[in-house]
């Protein structure tokens, strides 16, 4: 394991293409204040194409905030966020929406549209962004639902599904446009261990089969070891440590050790 890498000097603030073609997402010295709290204090991190990065950290450490920066739902106070080489803070609304068509995000509670059926949820992006005929859209929706083990749920409402099914339906929706980048916010939180394992396997399969670059934010270390190529720990607004799952498991850093062991004794005080 090594300390958070220094990506070197920050390139000029333009929305031009990536200097590093193998980098899918890049955070350079990202700062963000929410209210009176400095949530991110100079985060520098990059995710390669086809790589699965897991961000761990305590509640309120800014993990979800960092994730929202990657898809332009939040703007940094300072620093640069590049996706596929484009500075998301420099993009016009329309360009940002176009960039997002190649990305998918799984929200913690699924965030399914409760006024629509599951089929309409999964097919919404296809109806909005592609000229596909309705028959073709229905085929794609069925494929995506089958991929997450929810065959035949097209006509059901989100309220009729369990928490695990909602999460999988939301995953199917996020995958509808065949994204090259996926963001997962607490993908296994609130799921029973068996459903959590199903979701973990799905995420891993997607990354291996489709070469999707992904960032997952989680507290669940079992999930992190399962899906990560690299694990980064966010602590006090900065990347405190980063390494492969094996390196993280073997680390002697007291903060990382206390967190991955889930101990209340150590340098991290209960909040």
């Amino acid at each position: 394991m090594h300390r958070a890498p220094d990506l070197g000097s920050v390139p000029g603030r333009d929305a031009g293409p990536a200097l590093v073609p193998n980098v899918a997402i890049e955070f350079s010295d990202v700062w963000k204040r929410l209210g009176r709290k400095e949530v991110l204090r100079g985060v520098t991190l990059s995710v390669g194409r086809g790589e699965s990065l897991v961000i761990i950290g305590r509640s309120g450490s800014g993990k979800s905030v960092l994730l929202k920066h990657a898809i332009g739902l939040m703007e940094p106070d300072r620093g640069i966020v590049r996706v596929n080489g484009f500075d998301v803070t420099k993009l016009a609304d329309r360009e940002l929406f176009e960039l997002r068509e190649g990305m998918g995000m799984l929200f913690q509670a699924g965030a399914l549209f409760d006024s629509m059926t599951i089929g309409e949820n999964v097919g919404l992006a296809l109806r909005e962004h592609t000229p596909l005929p309705e028959v073709q859209i229905e085929i794609v929706v069925a494929e995506k639902l089958a991929l997450v083990g929810l065959t035949g749920t097209e006509s059901q409402r989100p309220s009729a599904l369990s928490g695990g099914m909602k999460k999988r339906a939301a995953l199917a929706r996020a995958l509808a446009m065949n994204p090259k980048i996926m963001l997962y916010d607490e993908p296994t939180t609130g799921l029973d261990p068996i459903t959590a394992d199903v979701v973990n396997r799905l995420i891993r399969q997607l990354q291996q089969r489709l070469k999707i670059a992904s960032i997952a934010v989680t507290h669940d270390m079992r999930s992190a070891y399962h899906i990560a190529d690299r694990i980064a720990m966010l602590h006090e607004g900065r990347i405190h440590a980063i390494g492969t799952p094996a390196e993280i498991q073997a680390t002697r850093d007291p903060i990382v050790r206390q967190f991955i062991e889930g101990s209340s004794e150590g340098p991290l005080q209960p909040t």
């Binding site: 929200f107 992006a125 939301a170 963001l183």
Partner: protein
């Protein structure tokens, strides 16, 4: 007091309230700018507009008509009481017709629909905001302004004038019923008065007001709904703010439009 935790000028009341009101005003105008930009795209999704027209317009008909019926009835009773011994009863229809068409129809309809629709829009969009459905929509490359706000804006703008016309007719009918059944006025006297000083511009001014009131209701509902934060409490607060802001703005804009219409345009 510790220097580090001392509130800044912007955090002190009343500076905080003034800054917050200014920020809200600026944000509402920004939202209106976004709505105008997205109008042509939303018209391509007219199905969404039709759904909202049904929810906002058809859904509000029963409430609007009941309020209009009793508004007309009470107007007849009170006008007759005030005119008694001073003004010939032939003018009862004139007074009722003008007050309903110019003022009571559009304003009371807007206040009632504002309460119903403004609350419903703010609660729906607020719930979508706090459950991250709006964020999810954005991550799918779909503009919430185009998909959620503009259809509601167009629907409210089109449906408020229609509801107002219905309300005008029912309110006048309510006053007619009361006049001929309890005030000892003949149908002919009432309808003669109604027609006596009837001007089409009075109807136009009422419908024009309703057009703007619809925009106010939709804009306030969408603005406070999308600005919700913090869960159920935040959605409740947004709903209250949307209704209060709609009602206040309806009355303020009513005055401004009345001044323009009757002091400038029709003067």
């Amino acid at each position: 007091m510790n220097e580090a935790v001392r509130p800044t000028l912007a955090e002190r009341w009343p500076a905080r309230s003034i800054l917050s009101a200014l920020a809200d005003t600026g944000e509402v105008f920004l939202l209106l700018g976004q709505i105008v930009r997205e109008l042509p795209f939303a018209l391509r999704k007219f199905g969404l507009v039709v759904n909202q027209m049904a929810a906002i317009g058809i859904g509000s008909i029963p409430l609007t008509l009941i309020v209009a019926l009793f508004t007309g009835a009470v107007t007849a009773v009170q006008a007759a009481y005030q005119m008694k011994d001073y003004v010939p009863m032939v003018y009862l229809g004139t007074v009722i017709g003008k007050s309903v068409v110019i003022e009571l129809g559009p304003v009371l309809t807007a206040i009632v629909v504002g309460g119903r629709v403004g609350a419903s829009v703010a609660a729906e969009l607020g719930t979508m905001r706090v459950t991250e459905q709006v964020d999810a929509m954005e991550t799918m490359g779909i503009s919430p302004i185009r998909y959620l706000v503009v259809p509601r804006f167009i629907a409210a703008t089109l449906m408020l004038p229609v509801l107002t016309i219905f309300a005008d007719v029912v309110a006048i009918f309510g006053s007619y019923l009361v006049a001929i059944s309890t005030l000892d006025i003949t149908p002919h006297t009432f309808t003669s008065g109604l027609k006596m000083y009837f001007k089409m511009q009075d109807v136009f001014s009422g419908v024009l007001k309703a057009f703007f009131f619809g925009q106010i209701i939709a804009t306030m509902g969408c603005y406070y709904g999308l600005k919700s934060e913090g869960g159920a409490e935040g959605v409740g607060l947004a709903t209250t703010k949307a209704v209060v802001a709609s009602c206040v703005l309806i009355l303020v804009v009513d005055y401004l439009l009345a001044s323009f219409l009757f002091r400038v345009l029709f003067a």
